[in-house]
């Protein structure tokens, strides 16, 4: 591809310098600084470091002993697995279905993307209203279907036993559902484009050979989608590790009773509320390391094939 035009390298400076200047100053250098911070003793956000920690790897030891960190890791891993299975899974089913219809396909593509367009803050508030303890949307719905126990007092007042969606038995569901729901549309769009890129000739040949709809999906679409699915997996895993604003708006600091931590929310809480800046930096490093390791595993398992 190395054409005559691109033999002379001097214009390259104009192309690359602005972007990498920005990236170095605002991304790579701060990240490097963040790694340094993990071994320093830092008392507060604006304060300078007061020397090394005693011993310097203190924060990394703490990482393994902190029970909240264990909760956060457990929840985040559950979230990651659910993200991969449900987000990508539902998106795949929807994409395959949309591919078979003509009328309304554009409509579905547009509305499936709605939740991604909207800020997690607004969505979080919305879900707070939906899962509200007393008279939220879900509880009203359950009540009208007769699923909630209630008693009528002699005075005519109705006392309902509302279901608390954020208690210890239900919080995981209430936390995961909005996150799952929000990003289905993102993977849906990626997968739809992937399906559209498969050459129509292959499908026609298969139809001539008598392959039915399901067989075509099983033996043509899915294998050819492998690379795209792999991209989706990596995006889903790294995305799940970073999830922050929706659970933060809905649950705040580790509700209920320190059971609801995620790596993202715990890191934020340590850094900005507890002022453990160096420990927060350590959690951030862990998030990046986990992201690299997990997405490499995903790449190994679903290795994109080169021959297509």
């Amino acid at each position: 591809m190395s054409s005559m035009i691109y033999k002379k390298k001097s214009p390259l400076l104009v192309f690359l310098v602005p972007a990498f200047l920005f990236l170095f100053v605002y991304l790579y250098y701060p990240f490097f600084q963040n790694i340094l911070n993990t071994v320093l003793k830092i008392g507060g956000l604006g304060r300078a470091a007061e020397g090394l920690n005693e011993p310097w790897y203190e924060n990394y030891v703490r990482l393994f002993q902190d029970p909240n960190m264990r909760t956060a890791l457990k929840n985040t891993l559950i979230l990651t697995v659910c993200t991969v299975v449900f987000q990508v899974g539902i998106a795949l089913i929807l994409a395959l279905l949309v591919d078979t219809i003509r009328v309304g396909a554009q409509f579905f593509r547009t509305v499936y993307f709605f939740p991604i367009v909207i800020s997690a803050t607004a969505l979080g508030l919305m879900f707070n209203l939906i899962f509200l303890y007393k008279g939220g949307m879900v509880n009203q719905l359950l009540l009208s279907m007769g699923q909630l126990p209630y008693e009528v007092k002699p005075s005519g007042k109705v006392i309902v036993q509302w279901l608390d969606w954020k208690d210890q038995a239900h919080f995981l569901f209430t936390m995961l559902l909005p996150v799952m729901w929000q990003y289905v549309g993102f993977y849906f769009v990626i997968l739809v484009t992937g399906i559209n890129n498969i050459s129509q000739d292959i499908f026609e040949a298969a139809a001539l050979d008598g392959a039915s709809g399901l067989k075509r999906t099983r033996y043509i679409t899915l294998p050819l989608l492998r690379n795209v699915l792999c991209t989706c997996l990596v995006l889903a895993i790294t995305g799940a590790l970073k999830v922050f604003d929706l659970p933060w708006v809905m649950f705040g600091a580790g509700m209920p009773e320190n059971m609801g931590w995620l790596t993202g929310t715990y890191m934020y809480d340590q850094t900005f509320n507890k002022m453990n800046v160096d420990y927060g930096s350590t959690i951030a490093v862990l998030i990046v390391v986990l992201g690299v390791v997990l997405s490499n595993i995903a790449n190994r398992v679903f290795k994109p094939s080169e021959d297509i």
Binding site: I5, P18, L23, V277
Partner: protein, 285 residues
């Protein structure tokens, strides 16, 4: 027989698709309806249309009285507009250079960009804040400097994704076009502006939309740098209102609507580009 089975499967297809569409549309309709309802009634009856007695503008009037929406919209559009323009220009140049030129550190630079997509914002924000405070941009109390303090890290945060998407598209532009333009005497920059940009238009639009949305919706960076009332951008304002609203659910609903409407309008106007442009890059990346 066969055609009946086909019809049945088609019906199931539409049923499933419509069900998911319902889950993505209905919550918004529910919030919009309840933003016009008397606040006492939301908890007892939230599904009917707010008509007659139940209908009210009060929630919106309270929202505008409590908070300076006009100023916040202005701040938000200044921030997100600048971020969008800068990201499109800078990422476009870099993607073009990385795709078409062969040079020694190309592989290294590409891996750096992929790594950059992995960093969570909260791992870079503290050092960035300190650096900007040292440069005299952040924490000065000056409105325009504070806006700049948000704009700069947001540009950097959006660049990696933008470059990856654009690289995928520029790769698919046939190089013969560029070669014939070169023979006609065009310089590399003329080729970029007259051939590459028009050819990859929809992916540029996609990148622009995403940069705008992510910047507009990014509560985290905003709450970090914009601390004074006159600096507030719209998402931060929403967060503030909601923390003060307490049990005033009507006010919450109306503020959600006020924040969401501009984005939905931008999205519906430009959505055909997203569908076309999002993924050539992601697929190859």
């Amino acid at each position: 027989m066969n055609s009946r089975r086909q019809k049945a499967s088609k019906a199931v297809t539409y049923l499933v698709l419509s069900f998911w569409a319902l889950t993505t549309i209905y919550p918004f309709i529910w919030v919009i309806l309840n933003s016009f309802r008397q606040k006492g009634l939301i908890m007892s009856d939230s599904f009917s249309l707010p008509m007659g007695e139940a209908f009210t503008w009060d929630n919106y009037i309270t929202a505008f009285q409590r908070a300076d929406f006009k100023n916040a919209y202005l701040n938000s559009f200044l921030i997100s507009g600048t971020v969008t323009i800068c990201v499109v220009i800078i990422a476009g140049l870099a993607a073009y250079g990385l795709v078409r030129y062969r040079f020694r550190f190309r592989g290294l630079l590409y891996s750096l960009i992929m790594a950059g997509m992995m960093f969570p914002v909260f791992s870079t924000i503290i050092p960035v804040f300190r650096m900007e405070a040292m440069m005299g941009i952040a924490g000065t109390g000056n409105r325009w400097l504070s806006l700049l303090a948000v704009i700069l890290p947001q540009i950097a945060g959006n660049l990696c994704f933008a470059i990856v998407i654009l690289m995928g598209f520029i790769q698919s532009v046939p190089i013969e076009l560029e070669e014939s333009a070169y023979i006609d005497g065009c310089s590399v920059f003329q080729i970029y502006f007259h051939i590459i940009i028009p050819a990859a238009k929809s992916s540029f639009a996609t990148v622009a939309i995403f940069a705008f949305l992510w910047s507009y919706n990014d509560l985290f960076t905003q709450s970090f740098f914009l601390r004074y009332p006159q600096e507030r951008a719209i998402t931060g304002l929403l967060n503030e209102i909601s923390s003060q609203a307490g049990v005033n659910y009507g006010l919450m609903a109306s503020s959600v609507v006020l924040v969401v409407i501009p984005v939905l309008v931008v999205y519906v106007c430009l959505q055909k580009h997203i569908i076309k442009g999002l993924t050539a890059g992601a697929i190859k990346g």
